[in-house]
Every structure is written in C-alpha cells, then in structure tokens.
C-alpha cells in the first residue's frame, strides 16, 4: 500500500471539477499579479485630463435632466477613454514579443491563451476602474442638480461594455500584430471608426449603424414624460459582449497553435461570439427612431411606452396657471412670461384655456409642411389647443431646446403661433368668422402678440377688408380693461353673429 492509497478521497468533488476550480484560482492569481504589474495606470493622468477638459466641462452646460447628463457617457467619456485604453492595451498585449520572451513563456505550464487572458483581464480591469470613476463623477454631479427622476442604468452598462471592447481590440491587436505602430494605430484607428460611425448614425432614423453606442444626441425630453425604451441598449450590450468574446476567441486561436483542444475551444468561443454579433446586427437593422427613443419591434414592450406619472409645477395666483414638468421647473418663469400677454387678454372669457400645460414634444400634433413646419424646425417649440378629460380647453405646448425661453425669436414664435389658436377658439369656435369676429380677432391678436396680425401667416386666410381693418384698429385702441369687459358681456352675441362691425366699440 502506497502513501497515495492512504489519502482519503474528498467526498462529493470529482477530480474534473477540482481541476477546473484550480485553473480558475490560478487564472485569478495571474490576473491579480498582472493588475499589480500592469502599465495601464500610466494612462490615468491623461484620461483624467481629457475627462476634465471634454466630458466634465461639456456636462456642466447640459440641462439638469438625467437622460441628457447620461449622454455624456457615449458622447464624451467613450471617445476620451476608449482610444487611450485601446492604445495602452495594445502596448500591454505586445509585451511578450516586444521583450523577446515569447519562446520562454511558451515553456511555462499554463497555456498561452490563459496567460494572455490574465493580461487582458488586468488591462480591462484598470480601464473599467477608470470608467467607473468617470461615471461616478458624472452621476454624482448630476444628482446635485437634477430634481426629478433617477439615474439611467442602460447607458452605464452599454458604455462600460464599449470601453471593454475598445480595450480588448487594442489588446488583441497588440498580441496578434506586435510592433511599434500597433498602439498608435489601435488608439487612433478605434477613434476614427467611432467618429465615422457616429457621423453616419447621428442622423439615421434606422439601420444597423444604430448598433454603435455613440449613435445619437438624445432629444431634450427623452426619458422625462415616457421611459426610454430599452430595446436598442439591450441589443447594443449583447453585441458588444459578443464582440469582446469574438476578440478573445481570435486571441485563443492565435495563442493555441500547438494545442488542438484549446484551439477547438477558442474556435467555439469565436463562433458563439460571431453568432451573437450577427444576430444583434440583424436586430439593430430593424431599429427605428421612435417618439421616445429607438424601438425594435421584436423586443418592444408597448407597456414601456406608458407615461411616467408626475406632479406638474404651476404658476401660483394666476387666473390661468402655466404648468411645466418638474424637470423643467427652471423654465416656468420663461414659459409664464411667454404666454402672459395672451392669458391677460383671454382670462375669464368663455372658451379660454383653463391652464397652459407642457407636454412631451413628441406628442404635439406638428405641421407636416408649410410655414408652421419651417418655424417648428427652426425653433423646436410648438403649441396646440386640446380638451382636458373634463372637456375644458387646455393650451398644450412643448419645446426641444433647453434655451427656448432665453431666445427672443423662439418666444416670439411660440407666442405668434399660440395666440391666433386661442383667440380664434374664443371668438369663432365654429370657424368661418364673420366681419365683426374677424375684427375682434385681429384686435386681440394685436394686443396679445404685441404686433398686428400678419395676414400672410396663414395662406388660407383672406386679407381683411378695409372696414374690418378699421374696426380692428378701433377695438385694439380701447384700454384693455374696457375691451375685456365688453367681451365678457357681449362674447355670446359676437360668437352668434348678432353684432355688426359698426356695433363694435
């Protein structure tokens, strides 16, 4: 009986499982060793400088909305961190060949793939640590200014995987094609690809280019009134994961030239990653730019389009309150000032809006063509008159530019567009205004908009007759209190066409 025979077998743990655990333990130890020895921390000062210069400074000027602040991750953190990580990882990946220890390393007990996986793990670990720090800074700073909602998680996941993909690309390039030009070409090449794809994707309404994590600048109110659908982020995350797996498979195939078993495993990994990438590309090709984000019909859950409940912030003490989403509470004063002249003229009149309410820009019925469409395209702000659930009219408005109420042109456009809408509804709710109604409309529009009504604004409206224009001038010249009192008393008769031009005060 030998000594080996006397050693009792551990119950319930087969040799194969123990061997696998041992391999994992060794890989972890190797990775920890690589983490300690990795030159990746050399990139941290540069990444920190780029992060401060580009991402942080840009982020400070973005609106205090979670979706907007989270967009710094794909639009700035990824181009700042990803290429530097790719370049550094390429340098790390080419270490064995650069130091001429390839043959020496081949004689070690562990396979080359495992050895390189440890190096890759350390490089990716350092990169993800830098990414986590950048994300934490952005989200902490955002949390101090955003007053509604919670931090979006999907951008963090997708960009984290994208950063890992950059790092892996560089590492594999360095391992497979070692040389002095590999690091610069990996860094700037990945940056070039990112910029080129962003350029194609940013204006794309659909197509496979949307697979890029840096594919759009989100609309101002995405994720505010409705949740951003997770369709595309899911596909992007799986694609990036598949891409990393493909690259690791390539690394395995190149590293395991002498081991048939390992080469088979690497080929399987490579095929699995490729399958995931192809499937995700096919799914991304069906993505379309929806009202609240990108939708993929196969993955889209209609329930995710339900509005997010919120309590609007409204002006206090006014006859007709102006309300905005709490995220836009800083714009309440601007919105109130924009609609104030109109509301002063129509408050208390039958048919006047009971409130002015901000809604999702995507939910506004926008003009498809004509001057109205051009105005909307130029100023990204619009309004419409709708009925509340109780039947009372509500003036709804939306805007897509964070500086809408600081731009006189945009405010003037919003005012010019909403004033005829509301006044027309009050004076001639059934359309086809008579001469007296036309005159009162013109006078009120002049008072509320601060300028004479432009007969060219709506091509379908004929220019007023001289008598109508004269009556309008006469009515507009009345003090506001007097004209308002006359309207309160005589609006019903005016609407029913019982008042003639001559009877107007």
């Amino acid at each position: 009986m030998s000594a080996v025979d006397t050693v009792p077998q551990r119950a319930g743990r087969p040799d194969a499982a123990r061997s696998r655990l041992e391999s994992i333990r060794i890989l972890l130890r190797l990775t920890l060793l690589e983490l300690r020895r990795s030159p990746m921390p050399l990139m941290l000062p540069l990444v920190a400088a780029l992060f401060w210069f580009d991402a942080l400074r840009t982020g400070e000027n973005l609106p205090a909305i979670w979706t907007q602040r989270a967009a710094i991750l794909p639009d700035h953190v990824l181009p700042d961190l990803g290429p530097v990580a790719a370049g550094m990882a390429a340098w790390v990946g080419g270490r064995e060949q650069r130091r001429g220890i390839g043959d020496l390393a081949q004689s070690t007990a562990r396979p080359a793939w495992l050895r390189r996986l440890a190096g890759w793990g350390a490089a990716t670990g350092w990169t993800l640590l830098a990414y986590a720090a950048c994300t934490a800074v952005i989200y902490v700073l955002a949390a101090r200014v955003v007053n509604w909602g919670g931090p979006p998680v999907w951008p963090v996941v997708v960009i984290g995987l994208a950063v890992a993909a950059f790092c892996t690309t560089g590492f594999v390039a360095g391992a497979v094609l070692p040389g002095r030009f590999t690091a610069p070409l990996a860094a700037l090449g990945t940056l070039l690809v990112t910029v080129m794809i962003f350029q194609s994707a940013v204006h794309a309404a659909s197509g496979w280019v949307l697979i890029s994590p840096d594919n759009s600048v989100p609309q101002l109110d995405w994720g505010v009134f409705h949740p951003v659908p997770p369709d595309l982020p899911i596909v992007q995350a799986v694609f990036l994961l598949g891409f990393v797996v493909v690259l690791l498979g390539v690394l395995g195939v190149f590293s395991s030239v002498r081991g048939a078993q390992l080469r088979r495993t690497a080929s399987t990994v490579l095929a699995a990653g490729l399958a995931a990438c192809v499937a995700c590309l096919a799914l991304a090709a069906t993505a379309v730019r929806g009202n609240y984000g990108f939708d993929i019909s196969l993955l889209h859950d209609a329930a995710s389009d339900r509005p997010i409940p919120y309590t609007p912030v409204c002006t206090q003490g006014s006859a007709i309150p102006v309300c905005v989403h709490p995220v836009f509470s800083a714009d309440l004063a601007g919105a109130s000032a924009a609609f104030a002249p109109l509301l002063a003229e129509v408050a208390g009149l039958p048919g006047a809006p009971t409130r002015v309410m901000q809604i999702d820009n995507a939910d506004l019925p926008l003009p498809d063509a004509g001057p109205g469409h051009a105005d909307f395209t130029r100023f990204d702000a619009w309004s419409t008159l709708a009925a509340s659930p109780g039947g009372a009219p509500v003036l709804e408005f939306g805007f897509g530019d964070p500086y809408t109420f600081n731009m006189p042109g945009a405010v003037s456009n919003l005012r010019d567009q909403s004033v005829p809408l509301v006044i027309g509804h009050i004076v001639a709710p059934n359309g086809n205004p008579g001469p007296a109604q036309q005159a009162v409309e013109r006078a009120l529009i002049q008072k509320a908009a601060g300028a004479p009504a432009d007969p060219n604004q709506d091509p379908s409206t004929p220019p007023p007759t001289a008598a109508v224009a004269a009556a309008a001038q006469r009515f507009a010249a009345l003090p506001s209190a007097q004209s308002h009192a006359w309207l309160v008393a005589d609006l019903d008769q005016l609407r029913s066409g019982q008042i003639t031009l001559e009877e107007l005060p």
């Binding site: 990139m43 540069l46 580009d54 340098w91 002095r180 030009f181 690091a183 610069p184 700037l188 070039l192």
Partner: protein, 222 residues
C-alpha cells in the same frame, strides 16, 4: 606610398567609400526605425483621408457636416503625427547614443523625411475633396501635430508618443466646434492666421531641434 603618388584617385575613392558607408548607415538607421512600414502607413492615410472628408462633406443638408469633415481630417492628421513620432523611437537606447557620433544628423534627417512624407500624404489626402479650410491649413495643422508627437517622443519615448496627438485631437475637435480664437488651437484658425502658423510651424521646428539634440526618451524598453 601609392596614395602619395596617385593622391587624387585615392581621395576620390575614399570619398566614394565614405559616401557609400554614409548611405549604408542612413539605410540601416531607417530600417531600425521601421521607416518603410511608417512610409506605407503614411501613404495609406491619403486615400483614407480622401474617403473620410468626402463622406463627411457628402452629407448634404445636414448641419455640422463641415465641422465633421474638419474633425475627421484632423483625426487623420493626428494618425500621421502618431506614426511619425512612433517611428522616431530608438530601439537601442543608451548604447546607440554613445556609439554613433552622427546620430543627431541621422535623427534629424529621418524626422525631416518622415515629416515631408506625412505632409505630402495629407496634401494628397485632401486634394480635390473641397476640404473647407483648404490644403494649406491641413498641412499647417499636420505640421503642428507632428511637432506635438515628436515632442512627446523626446519626453516619454516613441511607445507613448501617440498620446500627444491623440489628446490634442480632443482639444482641436473642441476648438473646431466652439470656434476658438487662440492660436494655440491652430486647427480652428483660418489659413491666413499668422499666430496659428507661428504656433504650429514653431512647435514643429522646436520639436525637431529637441529630437535632434536629445534623441527619443528612453523611459520604456522596447
């Protein structure tokens, strides 16, 4: 004795030998710096630049197409600068510095040759593309970027010299978007801006002088 009798042919033969050995030395120096590979990489940048600028400018009716073309152009200029700066890395370190007295001239000649190649490549790259800022601006910007890259080679060595042009691209892209006026961000300045020209060409000249005198940094091992 024969040299004394037949002095002139011997001197000529010696000069020829010296010329041949110098040529051989230069060739070996270029090979050790991977200049042929660098030349191929630089020349490949020309069609890439053509394609990138044309595709950016081809986005008709889209706001920002012009800035996008300028940023892409700047990025490929940064690629050429990174290639030049990586090629100037010396693989032999201190031993080379003490062995070769002609090394500074070899470094200068190599740097000038690669710079000329890079400038030629970017000129070809934007030829006929309608690049908004014009060919001279692209050449000026590339010269400045090469200056940054070569300065980084002198300071931290060729392996990490690409970080300089890459980082400056971020600054330059920002300057192009926000239309910065300072001459230090020369990519955002027009061709007739004297300050930008002085900064870019001055940076190149000072960096070439520095690499000639001090050689590439040896902080990292090849």
């Amino acid at each position: 004795m024969s040299t004394l009798i037949h002095g002139e042919p011997a001197v000529r033969s010696s000069r020829v030998a010296t010329g041949a050995s110098l040529a051989r030395l230069f060739q070996l120096h270029l090979t050790s710096r991977r200049v042929p590979t660098a030349a191929v990489a630089l020349l490949l940048c020309a069609p890439l630049l053509q394609w990138a600028v044309r595709s950016a400018l081809g986005q008709t009716g889209i706001a920002g197409a012009r800035v996008s073309a300028e940023q892409l152009s700047l990025l490929l200029e940064a690629v050429t600068a990174a290639v030049v700066s990586a090629a100037l890395h010396g693989p032999f370190g201190e031993s080379e510095k003490i062995a070769g007295r002609r090394l500074p001239w070899l470094r200068l000649t190599t740097a000038l040759l690669l710079t000329a190649l890079a400038l030629g490549a970017v000129s070809l790259g934007v030829l006929g593309t309608g690049q908004p800022l014009g060919t001279y601006v692209v050449v000026r910007d590339t010269a400045g970027l090469i200056g940054i890259g070569v300065a980084c080679t002198t300071l931290v060595g060729g392996h990490f010299a690409w970080t300089g042009p890459a980082a400056y691209w971020v600054v330059g892209a920002y300057a192009l978007t926000d239309d910065w006026q300072t001459p230090w961000t020369w990519p955002a300045r027009p061709g007739d801006d004297v300050g930008a020209a002085v900064c870019a060409w001055g940076f190149l000249a000072v960096s070439l002088l520095a690499i000639t005198i001090f050689g590439p940094g040896q902080r990292t091992h090849d």
